[in-house]
C-alpha cells in the first residue's frame, strides 16, 4: 500500500471493525519517534492526541496555496482562505450535528469556549445570590471560570458529588436545583476517571428547571458520537488537539437564540458591523464572538481532523476503544497490586491507576524508559484527587490508533515497576 493511497480518509463502514494497522499508517509520529530506542506506545491521548497525515497535508496545502487574512479582502487569496475557514465551520457543525453553522464559534479550545460563555452569558445574566451547578469531576477549566464569576457577582457555586466508583450521584445533582439556580456546567466524560456522565438526563433536569446548561465535551468528542440537537444542550465545548487536530483550535456550540442574547467576549476587528466613537454595532453570530484575526490554519486543520474521524465513523471508533479499555482493565487487574481509580459502569478510553504504593510520578518516569507514554499528576482535576485521597494518578488513555499489543506493552512495563519496588 503506498502512502499516497492512504491520504484519503479510510472509508467508513459502520458494520466493520477498525483496520487499526491501516489507521496507524496515517499517523507518522507513531513510527517516526522511538523514545529511548523503544517503539513509541502513546497512551497520553486524553492530554493531546496525534495528527494524521491527512490533517498535516491540509495544513501544508493551506499554508502553501490558500493563506491570507479572512473576511477582509476582495482578492482571490482572501476569498480562498475565507472559504476554507468557513468550510471548517461546516465540518464542526456536521460533526456535532448542529442545526446551523452560525451556532459554531471557533475558539482556541475548551478553556476559551467555557470562558467565552462565562463572560458572554454569565456576566450578563448571573447576579448576586444566583447559583451555578457543576460536578465534582470537572476539569479545572470548568471550575475556575465559574468561581471567578461567583467572586465577581456574589453568586454561589454548587457542586454535585460523585460516588466511590466515580459516578455522579444523580439524585444529589437533581436536589441542587432550585429557584436561584441560573446555570449548570457539567462534563460529558471525566478526563481523570473516564466516567461517561448520563448527560442527556443531566440536560433534561436542568431544562425542567428552566436552567441553561453547558457541556464540557473535551473528552467526549474524541471517543463518542455527539449530537447536540438530540442532546438539546445549550452549549457544547471541545478542543481540536484532542480530536487529532492542531493545538490552538476548538469550538463552542451554542443555541443561536442564546448566542444572540449574549454580550461579546473580546472586542476588536471582525466582531463589529460599524464603529464610531459614540457607538459600536456588533456583528451577527458567529462573528460577534470571533474578534481579531483567528488561528486560521488550526481551524482549517480542525475541520480536516473531524472529517477524518467522521469518515472512519465515531461509532466504530467508540466500539474499538471500548474493547481496548475492557481489555486493558482486565489485564491491569491481573497484575497484583494495581488499583484502578474510576470504575464507573460507563467509561470512555481512560484508565487511571495506582501501582502498589509507588508514586505515580515514579511510575510515569519508569514507563517512559520502556517507551510507554502515560500522563501522571492531578490531571487538572484536583477535587477528584482529593475525593479519592490520592495526590495524583498515572493515567493511560486510548485513541483510535492504539492496539491490544500496546496494552500488553503497558501491562508488561507496569509489572516491571511493581517488581522493582517490591
Amino acid at each position: 500500500m503506498t502512502v499516497q493511497a492512504l491520504r484519503q480518509p479510510p472509508a467508513g463502514d459502520a458494520t466493520k471493525p477498525l483496520d487499526v494497522e491501516r489507521i496507524r499508517a496515517d499517523f507518522p509520529i507513531l513510527t517516526n519517534v522511538r523514545p529511548h530506542g523503544k517503539p513509541l506506545v502513546f497512551l497520553d491521548n486524553a492530554a493531546s492526541s496525534q495528527m494524521p497525515q491527512q490533517v498535516i497535508d491540509r495544513l501544508v496545502r493551506y499554508q502553501t496555496h490558500e493563506h491570507a487574512n479572512i473576511h477582509r479582502g476582495v482578492h482571490y487569496l482572501s476569498e480562498t482562505a475565507t472559504r476554507a475557514y468557513e468550510q471548517a465551520r461546516i465540518s464542526v457543525q456536521r460533526f456535532l450535528n448542529a442545526r446551523e453553522d452560525r451556532e459554531i464559534i471557533f475558539t482556541t479550545g475548551t478553556t476559551e469556549a467555557i470562558n467565552l460563555v462565562m463572560h458572554g452569558y454569565g456576566r450578563r445574566f448571573i447576579g448576586a445570590g444566583d447559583e451555578i451547578i457543576i460536578t465534582y469531576m470537572e476539569h479545572h477549566s470548568n471550575i475556575v471560570p465559574w468561581q471567578m464569576l461567583c467572586e465577581e457577582k456574589g453568586a454561589v457555586l454548587k457542586v454535585a458529588p460523585i460516588d466511590d466508583s466515580g459516578e455522579l450521584i444523580v439524585e444529589e445533582y437533581e436536589k441542587l436545583f432550585n429557584a436561584r439556580t441560573k446555570f449548570a456546567a457539567v462534563t460529558h466524560v471525566s478526563n481523570a476517571l473516564g466516567t461517561i456522565t448520563p448527560i442527556k438526563h443531566l440536560i433534561d433536569v436542568a431544562h425542567s428547571h428552566g436552567v441553561p446548561i453547558l457541556v464540557d465535551g473535551a473528552q467526549a468528542t474524541p471517543h463518542l458520537p455527539v449530537d447536540v440537537q438530540a442532546l438539546d444542550c445549550d452549549f457544547y465545548c471541545f478542543s481540536g488537539h484532542k480530536v487529532c487536530g492542531p493545538t490552538g483550535s476548538g469550538a463552542l456550540y451554542g443555541k443561536a437564540a442564546l448566542l444572540e442574547k449574549m454580550q461579546p467576549f473580546k472586542g476588536g476587528g471582525d466582531m463589529i458591523l460599524s464603529v464610531t466613537f459614540e457607538k459600536t454595532t456588533y456583528n451577527t453570530i458567529p462573528h460577534k464572538f470571533e474578534a481579531g484575526t483567528p488561528p486560521i490554519a488550526p481551524m482549517i486543520g480542525l475541520g480536516a481532523a473531524l472529517d477524518y474521524l467522521s469518515a472512519i465513523g465515531m461509532d466504530r471508533i467508540a466500539a474499538h476503544e471500548e474493547a481496548l479499555l475492557a481489555y486493558a482493565t482486565e489485564r491491569m487487574l491481573e497484575v497484583g497490586g494495581v488499583r484502578i481509580i474510576g470504575t464507573a459502569r460507563h467509561k470512555a478510553a481512560v484508565l487511571s491507576f495506582y501501582v502498589g504504593e509507588v508514586h505515580p510520578h515514579d511510575v510515569g518516569t519508569l514507563l517512559d524508559e520502556d517507551g510507554v507514554a502515560v500522563r501522571t499528576g492531578h490531571h487538572c482535576a484536583q477535587p477528584v484527587m482529593q475525593r479519592f485521597r490520592v495526590p495524583a494518578t498515572a493515567r493511560a488513555s486510548f485513541a483510535l490508533y492504539n492496539t491490544h499489543a500496546e496494552v500488553d506493552a503497558l501491562v508488561a512495563a507496569v509489572v516491571k515497576v511493581r517488581d522493582m519496588f517490591a
Partner: protein, 158 residues
Amino acid sequence: MDSKQLYQEVILDHNRKPRNYGKLDAATHSSEGLNPLCGDHIWLHLHVNDGTISGIAFEGQSCAICKASASMMTAAVKGKRVEDAEGLVGEFRSMVTGDLDVGAQPNHLGRLGVFAGVKDLPSRVKCAVLPWHTLHAALTSQQTTSTEGDQDPLAPGT
C-alpha cells in the same frame, strides 16, 4: 545513567529505608516543603547548636526521587556547619539544573552526585530539589516553601 539505573542504584534503597525519617523532639528549626504539581509534601526538623546541624529528621508523602533526595540530604548535612549545608544546597541545585558538572567541576556533593542524572528528567527536577529548598527555608526560618513561583528552579530568568 538512565532513570532505571538511577532508581536501582540509590533511589529504591532510600525509598525503602529512608534515613533520619520521623520527628525530632524540641526542634530548633522546622519547615514544610510543597511541590504542588506533583503532590510531594515533606516536613523537615532540625537541631541547630552553635551554628552546627546536630540533628535532622524529615517526614511526609512524596515520590521516590524526593524521598531518596531527602534521605541522602539528611545524612549529608548532619554534623555540618550551617554555612557548609547552605553551600551544598546551592551545589545540589546547580547540579540537577545542569549548571554544575560534578565530574568536571570542583564540588562537595560526594555521593549526592548520583542525582546528576535528574537533569535529564526535567519534570522530576523539582522532586529532587524540594528537600533542599526546605532545608534552606528551615535554616532561614521560613515556615513553608514551594517549588513553584519565586522558588521554581526551572523558571525563566532564574
